[in-house]
Amino acid sequence: MIVLDIASVVLLAAGALFVVSGGVGLLRFPDFYTRVHAAGITDSAGAGLILLGLLLRTPSWETGVRLLVIMLFLALTGPTASYVLAFAARRDGVPIWREGDPRR
């Protein structure tokens, strides 16, 4: 199925772009909280699109079901981990970068 192949390639490439962008944002953004935002792209949009892309080239339905379950799990664990990090950072008084502050 050439159509499925093309759609899968597009999804995988877009997912990879999101993953790389998350990494670049992690380096470029100014403080802890904004970096959590950047890292979040990697495991929401990046991982989601890559798994969708893989879903289109699964050889059997069992593999497909497993991929869907992995997507569901990542949608639960990713934000939960980000939340715990941000909650802990705020509790420990990590300052919030505001527009105009120097980079940290």
């Binding site: 772009l17 999101f18 962008s21 998350g22 670049v24 944002g25 470029r28 953004f29 100014p30 403080d31 909280y33 904004t34 959590v36 935002h37 950047a38 979040g40 792209i41 929401s44 949009a45 989601g48 069992e62 497993r66 379950v69 569901l72 949608a75 639960l76 990713g78 934000p79 939960t80 980000s82 939340y83 941000a86 909650f87 705020r90 919030i96 970068w97 505001r98 527009e99």
Partner: protein, 156 residues
Amino acid sequence: MAPLFALFWVLLSGHFTTLLLVLGALSVALVCLLARRAGLTASAGASIPHALRLPRYLLWIGKEVLVSAVAVVRRVWSPRPDLRPAVAATPAAGMSELAQVTYANSITYTPGTLSLDVDEDQVHVHSLVPADLEALRAGAMLRRVHRLDQGRRAGR
């Protein structure tokens, strides 16, 4: 909880070698131990009707994630990123515990907004630009979480 986890392991693994079954038993034991230490109970308000409403919500949140991910990616690559972080509370009153978790996690899942803390009746949110925070406070996501939580009786 343990039989449920065991069934889940077998369904996902599909292998019945001694090694994998032993690993599965150990995983189930570990998860049960952690769940007990964290004070979790088997049911947190999830039900069959709730599960049936879930796909529609997931499709919507998927769309939201893509749209806002594109916005954040543009900031990542722009020579001078337009970052004006804002922190504020967004109302989240009258929700079940499950709905609160869904809402706070959906906020974090959507790039550009990040839950910092969950109170009885509000969620503290950090956002990359004030506009994302305003959109959240306008309540589209909150309404959908309410609908997911209690079906058509939403909006009380």
